[in-house]
């Protein structure tokens, strides 16, 4: 690893060396031995099981009679959407992106019209899962087909069928922004690159399907909700807001959660529905999604058409960028649906300087599964666009793509840098990361091989793809969110308690589902308190134990949540110091704190360990005036600003021009995510991110047929990559601490996904430039690659 700058002065103490250590995870033991608490594993006596009837038609008026199902074996209740219309509130969408957005009512069970294949229209509650599923067949439904609209441009045309007839339009919102003099930037520009790129619709495919269990205590009106969610605090908030049950009577637990990638950052119909059913029936109710159900009923990601124009000088200096997006909302707005494309708004300029920038986005309804956040959420789309354009610009001017980037990027001495779209990039060193990546990759050697293969007309061509990305992490300063129409805030909460035994409890508001927060936060607390790593327990994912928090998404957990934990631990030390001084009968100024021990300067032997202080605070026999017993502190942190990780990714891809198959031969990622707390976990996040980004580039797409049926609706058809479909990656890091938080940390959960997609597609296109190919639509499947060559060569096979 290359450190490009020294650590921030007030960073965490490294006495124990926990920060920066490749600690093995505390989370692993129970996961490795099957002692897990996935929601579906939780079995409560008397639980009823729920199955949902979903519309097989993408758009239809429905008349549902569920009464016949009530007589089936084991069935306790069966309801249509109409039966429950008055009891079920609409689902929330929390981010009003424009004052005049269209936000149609979204009932957990459609009442009289189904608007996508998979829209739930009836529910059965039975004694066993099998009985609930069996009884679905007894529900009588009349479907009156309505015209289906699937394509965004068709949806915007005059006379298009409407997804929501009463809205009078399929347009959800129109948003635009201009920075600098765009007309001047484009006037007489010597180079103009104009492209349309399509971000195909993706299915997140977290390995654990969603599951919800709601247990009521009818006598007291209390509810415990287990849900496979990234956001237990939001689930509690919205259940309370929408049901009228006080928050204090709703406990939401996110137990072991098997991945999310944004797909569990939502308030889902089934959560609301099961809560209502538990309330109505007074018994525990449980629902677990099947995978084929998940393909339809859990949000999808991406699905964006990008019309792009880049103006540049003759030497390649970028003058201006125009971005016009169409973003597919699907049939309804989920929690953050309309905001997702706008999270990319400020990231299209990437790491480059330019004079002017124009951004426009139109959100469009179609008869498809709603979209929402999927790993990267708006930033992968933006990064893809600018990184593909930089390669196209380089090709247009016959300049090496890395050189083209160097001519335009922000130089390391220019940070903090106010970029064109109004963000201030905190820190970075693109030169250092690129130099390191180049070296690891053997860039010059591979370019030479590429030239040889081109010369030899080798059937297997070599392409080299570049991606020099940045992204915004640490969602988000609450004021920034408020200015943009988001209903909530972006702070995070933590409590650190030194217990009487000297053990530590760190209660956090983030809600991990594979990210290793327990380990990372333990490392932060261990260093700050000077206590052993193993003495720290991290409590999360249960609103009864951790009542305050805003959960896990947007690469925020360390940059916001971690800083909150660290601040709370600092407060504990400060309080302990006051008590230690009192116990040692000295002034606080006479104490120094190291390795968990307060020592009186110049008086050997006059010490108190923080554990001794903790017991003294618990016993409270002798507290200084005004100091409360127990050793505990809270901190709620609202971030000052975002942090901006960056990196240089280089991909070498071999393309079999006869079959179209793309094989990644070498992939180098040099990332700069600021200060690293646990390099093992950081590497793991990058690996997984790369896999998902590569999957978008090469493998995955949600395909609908003309009737609106999802034809890639199982794992067999959607084909997420297996171990045999991915290469080994070469990783390294540079380390430029963030200046927007005291730990210098940035964020890493989404970096790999954001960076890799354009790197891979750039490599594919680079391999095929001699054939006249200048784009291959994602995913670059063998057929699409073959067809791109075939068409560029003039058609006939």
């Amino acid at each position: 690893m290359t450190t490009t700058e020294t650590r921030t002065e007030n960073g965490p103490a490294r006495r124990h060396g926990e920060v920066g250590a490749a600690r093995r995870r505390k989370e692993d033991a129970h996961l490795l031995t099957g002692q897990t608490t996935w929601t579906d594993n939780i079995q409560l006596a008397g639980t009823l099981h729920v199955a949902l009837l979903r519309s097989p038609m993408a758009h239809a008026r429905v008349r549902v009679d569920a009464s016949a199902a009530a007589g089936e074996p084991g069935v306790v209740a069966a309801y249509s959407g109409a039966d429950l219309a008055d009891e079920l509130p609409g689902l929330p969408s929390a981010w009003q992106v424009t004052p005049d957005w269209v936000a149609p009512e979204h009932k957990p069970l459609a009442v009289d019209e189904a608007r996508y294949a998979g829209d739930a229209i009836a529910v059965v509650v039975a004694d066993t899962r099998a009985h609930a599923v069996d009884a679905l067949d007894a529900i009588e439904v009349e479907y009156e087909p309505l015209p289906v609209v699937l394509d965004m441009e068709q949806a915007m045309a005059d006379g298009a069928p409407l997804v929501h007839a009463d809205a009078g339009t399929n347009v959800c919102f129109r948003y635009s922004d201009t920075f600098g003099d765009v007309a001047a930037a484009f006037a007489d520009a010597p180079v103009l690159i104009r492209r349309r790129y399509v971000q195909q619709r993706l299915v997140p495919c977290a390995m654990e399907p969603r599951s919800v269990l709601v247990a009521p205590v009818p006598a007291s009106g209390e509810y415990t909700v287990w849900s496979s969610t990234q956001i237990p605090h939001f689930v509690r908030l919205f259940l309370a807001l929408l049901s009228g049950v006080p928050e204090s009577r709703i406990r939401v637990i996110a137990p072991d959660v098997g991945g999310g990638f944004g797909s569990k950052l939502d308030i889902y119909a089934e959560e609301m529905l099961l809560f209502a059913l538990a309330r109505k029936l007074g018994r525990p109710v449980k629902w677990t999604e099947t995978r084929s159900e998940a393909f339809q009923a859990t949000i999808h990601g991406r699905d964006q058409i990008q019309d792009l124009e880049l103006a540049a000088d003759a030497d390649g200096r970028i003058r201006g960028l125009r971005v016009a997006l169409l973003a597919d909302m699907g049939a309804y707005l989920q929690l953050l649906t309309p905001a997702i494309p706008l999270l990319g708004r400020a990231m299209f300029p990437g790491i480059y300087k330019m004079d002017a920038y124009e951004f426009g986005c139109t959100g469009v309804f179609t008869d498809k599964t709603p979209t929402d956040a999927y790993r990267g959420a708006g930033r992968p789309e933006a990064t893809f666009a600018i990184e593909r354009l930089l390669d196209e610009l380089a090709a247009e001017l016959s300049v090496d793509p890395l050189e083209m980037r160097r001519r335009n990027w922000i130089r390391h001495e220019e940070f903090p840098y106010p970029q064109i779209a109004g963000l201030t990039y905190d820190s970075g060193n693109y030169e250092a990361a690129t130099a390191r990546a180049r070296e690891l990759f053997d860039y010059d050697g591979l370019r030479a091989e590429q030239a040889r293969r081109r010369e030899a007309h080798d059937a297997v061509q070599l392409g080299i793809g570049v991606s020099t990305y940045t992204e915004m992490c640490g969602l988000a300063p609450s004021r920034w969110l408020g200015e943009r129409g988001y209903a909530g805030g972006g702070w995070e909460a933590a409590t650190v308690r030194l217990l009487p035994t000297g053990k530590v409890e760190a209660v956090v508001g983030t809600s991990p589902h594979g990210q290793g927060h327990v380990t990372t936060f333990s490392q932060l607390v261990a260093d700050t308190l000077g206590v052993p790593f193993d003495d720290i327990e991290v409590v999360h994912g249960d609103t009864a134990a951790a009542p305050a928090g805003l959960d896990t998404y947007g690469s925020r957990s360390l940059a916001v949540g971690g800083v909150a934990v660290w601040r709370a631990a600092q407060r504990v030390v400060a309080k302990a110091k006051t008590l230690a001084a009192h116990l040692l009968e000295v002034s606080e100024d006479d104490l120094e704190f190291a390795d968990g021990t307060f020592a009186v300067r110049g008086t050997p032997g006059a010490t108190k360990t923080i554990q001794e202080v903790a017991f003294a605070a618990f016993a409270a026999h002798s507290m200084p005036d005004g100091l409360e017993p127990t050793l505990s502190a809270d901190f709620v942190l609202d971030p000052d600003d975002f942090s901006f990780p960056h990196g240089t990714h280089l991909c070498a891809a071999e393309v079999d021009t006869e079959t179209g198959r793309v094989t990644i031969r070498k992939y180098v990622a040099v990332d700069d995510v600021g200060t690293v707390v646990n390099p093992l976990i950081v590497e793991g996040q990058v690996h997984g991110g790369l896999a998902q980004g590569i999957a978008q580039a090469l493998h995955e797409i949600a395909v609908y047929d003309a009737d609106g049926n999802l034809t890639t609706g199982t794992m067999a058809d959607y084909t997420p990559p297996t171990a045999a479909d991915l290469p080994s990656f070469t990783l390294d890091r540079t380390e430029t601490p963030s200046t927007t938080n005291p730990l210098g940390v940035k964020g890493v959960g989404e970096a790999g996904t954001i960076a890799s997609t354009p790197a891979v597609v750039n490599a594919v296109v680079d391999a095929l430039r001699p054939y006249g190919v200048r784009d291959v639509a994602m995913p670059c499947t063998p057929e699409r690659v073959w067809r791109a060559i075939h068409e560029a060569q003039g058609g006939a096979s």
């Binding site: 996935w38 594993n41 390995m207 995978r291 067999a716 997420p720 990656f729």
Partner: protein, 157 residues
């Protein structure tokens, strides 16, 4: 209902099951072995992999009645006592799991692979685990862990 007799993680069991009961349902619901999760309904993801008579199978793609007479090992019975199997240990050391949902199946598929290929190349591990999907790790650390475990198991035998 059909009577089956099986051994699950070393314990003999005789149960009456509906013929349509999947082996994984039987393990989870009748035998309480919830360590084996379900990840899909087409037999692709491999999360539910268990060993039946020492061979890895997908317990969602086998009926409980088909396992009659069989000896079944789930992730909960892989190691005896408090220790972990070398494959489990290597997964921990190599950070080969994140959310952990695919992990039971991945570990048992790896155990099965190493039974047959004690010193696999990277490619053999990747091919050998093609029946198990992981969405978190990008597989790189899984591959490393399986090869580490292979070396450990070879040294032990």
């Amino acid at each position: 209902m059909t009577r089956i007799s099986v051994t699950v993680d070393g314990l003999d069991a005789v149960d009456e099951v509906e013929p349509r009961t999947l082996l994984v349902q039987y393990l989870r619901e009748d035998r309480g072995r919830t360590g084996t999760p379900v990840g899909c309904d087409t037999g692709n993801c491999g999360a539910c992999t268990v060993l039946v008579d020492g061979r890895a199978v997908k317990s969602c793609s086998m009926l409980a009645v088909q396992a009659d007479g069989g000896e079944i090992t789930t992730i909960q019975g892989l190691s005896d006592g408090d220790g972990m199997h070398p494959v489990q240990k290597a997964f921990h050391e190599r950070h080969a799991l994140q959310c952990g949902y695919c992990t039971p199946g991945m570990v048992l598929a790896a155990v099965d692979l190493l039974r047959e290929v004690p010193d696999p190349t990277e490619e053999q591990v990747r091919e050998g685990l093609e029946g198990n999907l992981c969405r978190c790790t990008g597989y790189q650390n899984i591959v490393a862990a399986v090869r580490d475990a292979a070396a450990e198991l070879r040294g032990a035998s």
